[in-house]
Amino acid sequence: MRNFLTIIFLIPLTVHPQSSSFDFHSPENVKKFADHLFCEEDYLRAIEQYELINQKMDNDTIKFKVMLGYSELGFFSESNDFFRGINDKSIFYPDAYLLSFKNQLISEPGLIIAPSIISFNAFQMKSFCKLINISMLYEDKFNISKENFIAPFDAEELNSVSTFYDYKVEPPYKSPALAGLLSAVIPGSGKMYVGEWGDGITALVVTSLFAFLAYDNFHADHTTRAWIFTGLGAFFYAGNIYGSVASAQIFNARIDFDFNNGLELFLKQQNYFLPDYDFCE
């Protein structure tokens, strides 16, 4: 009797989940599942689910979330493709507009040209101005006054932004020509000028050594050996001048690298001046 009752009790449990009355694939349920994946930051699968229902539901929230998801995954052109699908009357349009600027700044760093003026609230307008000003730092031609450049930024951002401005206006480059000239006068001094002291001292020692050996052998009438040392010394001397110019160029490339890296880090820390969108509360 007890077994019979157990079976009677279990049958509904096994049958009910398989019943066709519950449609897992209805757009509403797919959206719920996609929302759950999105909140779990599983953007890849969330986007797959959202794209299944995007055509059927035509919902700007879904489009914006797909755009956000693609951006988080690093698919910036796909993200911007979804921006074009968002209705310009939608409440998400200004945020999507700013997000498209962020995508552009990451994928193709350069001056942002706003295709149209739209109505922003005060925070969005500030973010917009900050992004435009920051994008100017990626351009070769940079002629904006410091006051205008730092104007849209908040007090806690001013220090970093001011440093970026100063670096852009007067980057602490080393002159390749001066490095070469210094090494031509005193071997190795060009390397020391760009901060490579070990290489500079080595170049000075090696070139001086070969010069002394050449002089000494000429002095002792060992002409063949003297010419070999002269040749080697000349190559080390010329190679050092060449290397000093190259080192200054590499030093300048490092300055550019540090500048771009620092700027990227700063923008990531500030989330590109965009708010944290929370769809999971």
């Binding site: 890849l44 995954l73 698919f75 490579e196 002291w197 070990g198 290489d199 001292i201 080595t202 170049a203 020692v205 090696v206 190559f235 080390f236 010329a238 190679g239 050092n240 060449y242 290397g243 110019v245 190259a246 160029q249 590499i250 300048n252 490339a253 490092r254 550019d256 690298f257 890296n261």
Partner: protein, 132 residues
């Protein structure tokens, strides 16, 4: 997108020895390359293969000369080589500003020394380059 999904990765634990990848052929496109290849082949055969793997850089100094001759001309390649040789001999062993390859050698490609600013690919010292 598909590449982001989890899937089995084929990992090889074989250690690559750069000696085995050496190309001793004399194939060259011009006289400069032929001269540098001859010098490098002679150095590899009589000295380097016997002496062992001592160059702290990748590409090694001899490979740097060959690649420099391919990138530029024999005169510029010679200057690049003598500069590299000086840096190799650094009496203070000040090599810490170079990035490294995964095997631990310092990565110093000739492309950074052609005096063409656009070709310089600066990598920070902490960076690990995947291949040699």
């Amino acid at each position: 997108m598909e590449n982001l999904k989890w899937r089995k990765s084929d990992i090889s634990y074989e250690k690559q020895i750069h000696f085995s990848k050496r190309d001793y052929s004399f194939q060259s496109e011009n006289a400069g390359e032929f001269i540098t290849k001859s010098l490098a082949n002679a150095y590899w055969f009589f000295i380097s293969d016997v002496d062992g793997d001592n160059c702290p850089f990748r590409p090694t100094c001899s490979a740097f000369l060959l690649q420099s001759a391919k990138e530029t001309n024999i005169f510029q390649a010679s200057l690049m080589f003598f500069d590299r040789f000086t840096r190799d001999m650094n009496i203070a062993k000040g090599h810490d500003h170079y990035p490294r390859v995964s095997a631990g050698y310092y990565y110093d490609p000739p492309q950074n020394y052609t005096l063409n600013q656009g070709r310089i690919k600066y990598l920070p010292p902490a960076f690990i380059v995947d291949d040699e």
